[in-house]
């Protein structure tokens, strides 16, 4: 197990290094210049600005400086906002993104589990078909289409919740709902499959034979075992939420990382793009690692299989 963790961490470092390198060089080849009014500035003025941000150094030196700063947690200075550190900007904006992501994840997985459980209990019944159908819809329809529906009907027509902005908990309802639909659908389908498989296994039959009632079997023996594989979908779901938040934050004008990222792309603000990319990649890799490790901790069978 320790060897495995160390091996995984080494991979993590290599991947991060490559992503950082990759990001840096891609940014250097970007079309367009970071100077928003390049044609209005004289040669000298351009030179002064480039010098200020270290953009006139040879590329290898820029790369070296970038890497050294990166290791110290310094992501550089934003082009867009005068003299503001990228890490500060990201830190300011990470709150709403995290809140939305966590809310959507928790609500999505819990609702999805319930939906999947209902499906499995009433296997091939009306409830099963309804919830499977809903799950296919939720999995298929893009989150920004859902966001549009919610914004138009619940926000504009009925006026139950605010259409956009970020000024209190009621502002989080619509974006959270738009984001949560995909996790609901995926968790429901996964839960249904797992639950059906678990309910057909020998220990369930044994438990029934010993006289445990149906509710007891479903919740005590079935659900607990079906939950374990659900952990594997949490990783991909977390990543899909990070992707989804890019659009959802834009639609609902949430001051989060995703909204900032899209804005930065439009104005060629390299340091913010690089910083956000690295942050997203880092979170992505850490989530995958945690889930792989968690899986071994929770399910002793996997640990045993690896130990042999």
């Amino acid at each position: 197990m320790t060897r495995y963790i160390i091996q995984r961490i080494i991979y993590l470092i290599i991947t991060m290094f490559l992503i950082a390198t990759f990001t840096f060089f891609l940014m250097k080849f970007l079309p367009g210049t970071p100077l928003s009014a390049a044609d209005k500035l004289s040669e000298e003025q351009q030179q002064v600005v480039l010098e200020k941000y270290g953009l006139d150094d040879p590329v290898p030196i820029q790369y070296f400086n970038y890497m050294v700063n990166l290791v110290q947690g310094d992501l550089g200075i934003s082009f867009q906002f005068d003299n503001r550190e990228v890490s500060t900007i990201i830190m300011e904006r990470i709150g709403p993104s995290m809140q939305l992501g966590v809310q959507a994840m928790v609500i999505g997985v819990i609702l999805g589990m319930l939906l999947g459980l209902v499906s499995a209990i009433y296997h091939n019944g009306f409830m099963d078909y309804t919830s499977t159908f809903l799950a296919v819809l939720g999995q298929s329809i893009p989150s920004f289409v859902f966001a549009g529906l919610l914004q138009f009907y619940i926000g504009v027509k009925f006026g139950w919740f605010p259409v956009a902005l970020w000024e209190g908990w009621e502002y989080t309802v619509l974006p959270t709902a738009s984001l949560a639909i995909f996790p609901i659908a995926i968790a429901a389908r996964f839960m249904r499959t797992e639950m059906l498989e678990v309910m057909g296994s020998d220990y369930i039959v044994t438990a029934r034979a010993k006289g445990v009632n149906k509710v007891g079997v479903v919740f005590k023996h079935g659900l607990r075992n079906a939950l374990i594989p659900l952990i594997t979908v949490l990783g991909p779901l977390a990543i899909s939420l990070m992707t989804g938040s890019l659009v959802i934050e834009n639609i609902f004008a949430v001051p989060g990382i995703g909204e900032q990222f899209v804005k930065a792309i439009n104005v060629n603000d390299y340091p913010i793009i690089m910083g956000t990319t690295l942050l997203l990649s880092f979170m992505f890799i850490i989530i995958i690692l945690i889930i792989d490790l968690l899986y071994g901790v929770i399910d002793p069978r996997i640990r045993l299989a690896e130990g042999e």
Binding site: T15, L26, F152, L246, L280
Partner: protein
């Protein structure tokens, strides 16, 4: 009870010879025939397939069914609501309507007229709530845009903010989505299958190196990779194509590798090799046909995510550049006037949802047909 017991004399032994009992009474079905029978029985998958065929036909012929070009702008006819002869009951009657409320009936009435620039000749008002019960008075105004602007032709899906025909643009956008679907499938089939197959079949150092490369690529989120690729190239269909080619095949390569690893040491491969078959023959005749079911299933599942990805990129402005139509850009444009002209968002949103649902349902059906073990 005795009278229910049949008399033994009624039974005559069947004349069974060995050949009779061994005889196969049903036609023997190959794996593919069997799978297609199962697929045909799946109502959902068949509906999905039908929807896809219809959408494909509309994407091919739709833009030619009326005379408006994709880029044909005309501000005098901007934001026209949809109008189809005979489909008025669906709300596609070429009118805009809105409910206005105010403290008194007169105020509500004038607000309702104001809402559509006081074009009184073309506005019909209808009192929803006259305010006598203590609530706010509400008046619904229905504005016949076609009559007001004296436009004779019908715009089936309405027009967008620049007066471009939404019908033509929606089907042009659908073409982009279907192209992406085709592309994703091709990349999965070509790069993914080849990479996974070669890696597993040759094994050893080749496999080791190829797997290390995959392990690193997997660590990079697809989104980040795609966004970065699109940033160095100009946004457009080419950069999306390249981005998908880089990121789209990894899952397939892993699955094919796993399957080939499992299969390549089985007896039938050994037998074939003993008889002198070459590597290429073993791969083509024995390994790939055995993995093909899984390849098709996985390809079908990667298509909707690729379509979503293109729409998503276009939506955030990294996909097709502005004058071009993609369902993502159309939906994005729809958001800008969602409150007043929801129809601009409606049609592209419905079409992309239909495409996604159809592909997902068809993929589920194919999975159940090819691999009944995986059936949910």
């Amino acid at each position: 009870m005795e009278n229910h017991k049949p008399n033994k004399d009624l039974f005559v032994p069947v004349d069974t010879t060995d050949t009779e009992s061994e005889k196969i009474t049903r036609p023997s079905l190959s794996f593919w025939q069997d799978s297609f029978i199962r697929l045909r029985k799946n109502v959902g998958a068949m509906i999905g397939l039908a929807v896809l065929v219809i959408l494909t036909l509309l994407a091919i012929f739709g833009p030619y069914l009326n005379d408006y070009g994709v880029y044909e702008q005309d501000l005098s006819r901007s934001k026209m609501p949809p109008k189809v002869e005979g489909l008025g009951w669906l709300g596609m009657d070429g009118t805009l309507s809105d409910v206005q409320s105010a403290d008194t009936l007169e105020q509500a009435q004038s607000k309702a007229l104001m809402r559509f620039n006081n074009q009184e000749d073309y506005i019909e008002t209808e009192v929803v709530n006259d305010g006598s019960n203590g609530e706010q008075a509400q008046v619904r105004a229905t504005y016949d845009v076609y009559a007001a602007k004296d436009i004779q032709e019908n715009y089936w899906f309405g027009t967008d903010g620049l007066g471009r025909d939404q019908w033509t643009r929606t089907w042009m956008g659908t073409r982009v989505s279907l192209y992406i679907a085709f592309l994703a499938a091709a990349i999965d089939m070509l790069i993914g299958v080849a990479y996974g197959g070669i890696s597993a079949y040759y094994g050893g150092r080749v496999d080791n190196v190829m797997q290390r490369i995959i392990e690193i690529l997997v660590g990079i989120p697809n989104l980040v990779l795609v966004i970065l690729m699109i940033l160095i190239l100009e946004p457009g269909i080419l950069s999306i194509t390249i981005a998908l080619a880089i990121a789209g095949w990894i899952a397939m390569a892993r699955i094919v590798r796993g399957q080939v690893l499992k299969l390549k040491n089985q007896e039938f491969v050994l037998a074939s090799r003993t008889l002198g078959a070459k590597d290429s023959r073993i791969l083509q005749r024995h390994l790939i046909p055995n993995v093909l079911g899984l390849i098709i299933i996985n390809t079908m599942f990667s298509i909707p995510s690729a379509i979503f990805f293109e729409a998503f990129l276009s939506f955030i402005g990294l996909g097709l550049p502005t004058p071009m139509a993609s369902l993502g850009t159309l939906i994005n444009a729809g958001f800008q006037s969602l409150q007043i002209y929801p129809h601009i968002l409606l049609f592209p949103a419905v079409v992309i949802s239909l495409i996604m649902i159809a592909f997902n349902v068809l993929a589920d059906g194919l999975r159940d047909a090819f691999d009944p073990k995986m059936r949910e």
